[in-house]
């Protein structure tokens, strides 16, 4: 399938879905249009809401809040995870001691932490950053840990024979190997940073996309809920696309899925 037909097909899906939605919510094809419109709103109403948000400019503020929260939780979470993951991987005894606690903390559903974070950090962005942090940290942590442990023994022996000391091994062998694992999990960890931000906003905040959706739900403004979800989806797709660009740049040395490495 070439690029043009692919994009045409992708757009066709949206067009068909929206048309179907419009037809069932305005005609009596399936049931009473008023009832259906009450539960599902209509594409036109949702579009009007989105246009209104962008026209009056209020949406930018919420997008900005969510973006800042996601970026902060990703950067802080990833940084902490790289440092601690490295440290643990190089100190197997330390890792063994902390192993049950790390696994336990990772198994905890993060939503239950949200009220506590609100208590600790207030209703502002930092309680959302904390929630995102707990999601991003573990993904990156496990990848760094694995990346350091799975360095090829031959590459390591070769680096030693080339005269590298411990510090140089860290910089030229362990770190690139660990980062390659982090980069290949970039989609997941960035996605979770956004999830953390939105869920945090949803559970209590004064701004952001999650707040917007929660406010609309509070007054049964179904068009507002759907509009919020569409903006959020577009936002996530945009971020994912940026991650793909970053990934291509950072993992240029890696063989693509179609190529062989041997």
């Amino acid at each position: 399938m070439n690029r043009l037909t692919l994009i045409t097909a992708q757009i066709a899906i949206a067009v068909i879905a929206i048309l179907f939605w419009q037809v069932v919510s305005t005609t009596s094809l399936i049931g009473e249009p008023q009832k259906i419109a009450f539960f599902f709103s209509t594409p036109l109403a949702v579009a009007k809401q989105i246009v209104a948000w962008f026209a009056e400019g209020s949406i930018w503020y919420h997008l900005w809040i969510t973006l800042i929260e996601a970026i902060l939780s990703f950067v802080i979470g990833a940084l902490a995870a790289v440092i601690i993951g490295f440290w643990f991987a190089r100190q197997p005894r330390l890792a063994a001691v902390f192993d049950p606690y790390i696994k336990g903390a990772n198994a905890l559903p993060r939503v239950v932490l949200a009220p506590i974070f609100t208590l600790w950090f207030g209703l502002g962005i930092w309680s959302k950053v904390a929630l995102g942090f707990t999601l991003v940290f573990f993904i990156v942590f496990f990848n760094v840990y694995q990346g350091v442990r799975e360095v090829s023994g031959t590459v390591l022996a070769n680096a030693r024979m080339l005269g590298m000391n411990e510090r140089q091994l860290l910089r030229h062998v362990y770190l690139p190997s660990a980062l390659s694992w982090v980069f290949s999990s970039l989609h997941t960890s960035v996605g979770f940073a956004v999830v953390g931000a939105v869920v945090g906003e949803y559970l209590g905040s004064a701004g952001g996309l999650g707040y917007l959706i929660q406010q609309a739900e509070g007054v049964f403004d179904v068009a507002g809920v759907f509009a919020g979800m569409f903006v959020l989806a577009a936002f996530v797709i945009l971020i994912d696309w940026l991650v793909t660009l970053a990934e291509r740049r950072l993992l240029i040395w890696r063989a693509g899925p179609g190529e062989t490495t041997k």
């Binding site: 090829s152 031959t154 590459v155 022996a157 024979m161 080339l162 005269g163 140089q168 690139p176 041997k262």
Partner: protein, 282 residues
């Protein structure tokens, strides 16, 4: 045991051998407190400027011996000496060309070659310039900016060769470096190795399971028995003239004579070795 051949350019002064194994024994710890006796007490001496090939059946402990010479592995008994000094850490005089891919996949060919100089304190620009010169020597200058996965197996070996030789090691250890390559590429790599080696004739310890390759390359061929408790069962000087051509030398009558002689012994000794092991096992 004195070295059987002494290279012409060694000079009058009797320098210490590049590598000397003194009753080296190597064992590996296995689970449940057992151990595997890989190499039995071995004496071996590699003179400076000497090209020695070690041949033996797969799994006979050739690579183990090489790792001991590199200082990557501690012998269970005996000692390894490098230029007269007892080895208790990595052998800093040695360059090691591994059998498997050992290039750093996240560095380009150029960066992989330059890194050995950079970590030794050479300024980055100078290191890269010299790396370029080495890539030219192994015929890979146009591929300098490529990452290892974009290179063929033979090209990766060339980069590996440049990576090792740029540091100007006094001893070169090679562990079946051309093992994974196809026959034609092996011949070309052998010629390249001989050509680079002839410039300053470093001491080389070359492990292979290919007797033809060993005779074509080396000054001296060592035959090892099959493991466990592998030992040296033959030591043959190869008085073929240099410079050699990998493909042509195999047509020379002298080559055939040597091959027949060594193979005869290798075959019977290896078979005898197997019989001994079977006896020991029963």
């Amino acid at each position: 045991m004195p070295p059987l051949t002494v290279a012409k350019n060694q000079g009058a002064q009797q320098s210490a051998p590049a590598i000397r194994f003194d009753a080296v024994e190597i064992s590996f710890q296995l689970p449940k407190g057992r151990s595997y006796h890989a190499v039995a007490a071995t004496d071996l001496s590699l003179a400076e400027h000497e090209f020695v090939a070690i041949v033996g059946p797969t799994g006979c402990g050739k690579s183990t011996l090489l790792n001991a010479a590199a200082g990557l592995l501690k012998p269970a008994a005996g000692a390894v000496f490098a230029f007269g000094q007892r080895l208790d850490a990595l052998n800093r005089h040695a360059g090691y060309l591994f059998q498997q891919d050992a290039l750093m996949p996240w560095k380009t060919a150029l960066e992989n070659v330059a890194i050995g100089l950079e970590v030794a304190g050479t300024p980055k620009r100078e290191a890269q310039e010299r790396a370029r010169a080495w890539l030219a020597k192994v015929g890979l200058l146009p591929f300098a900016e490529r990452y290892p996965h974009m290179l063929s197996g033979g090209q990766r070996k060339r980069v590996g060769l440049a990576q090792v030789l740029i540091r100007d090691p006094r001893v070169i250890l090679m562990d079946e470096p051309f093992g994974p390559l196809d026959a034609q590429t092996r011949l070309i790599m052998g010629d390249l190795l001989l050509q680079l080696w002839s410039a300053d004739r470093k001491a080389v310890m070359f492990v292979t399971h290919d007797l033809e390759e060993a005779i074509a390359l080396a000054d001296r061929v060592i035959i090892m028995s099959a493991g466990p408790a592998a030992r040296i069962i033959g030591d043959y000087p190869i008085p073929l003239p240099r410079p050699r051509d990998m493909a042509e030398i195999k047509l020379a009558p002298a080559f055939h004579g040597l091959h027949r002689e060594i193979w005869g012994v290798l075959k019977t000794e290896v078979l005898r070795g197997y019989a001994q092991h079977e006896q020991a096992a029963s």
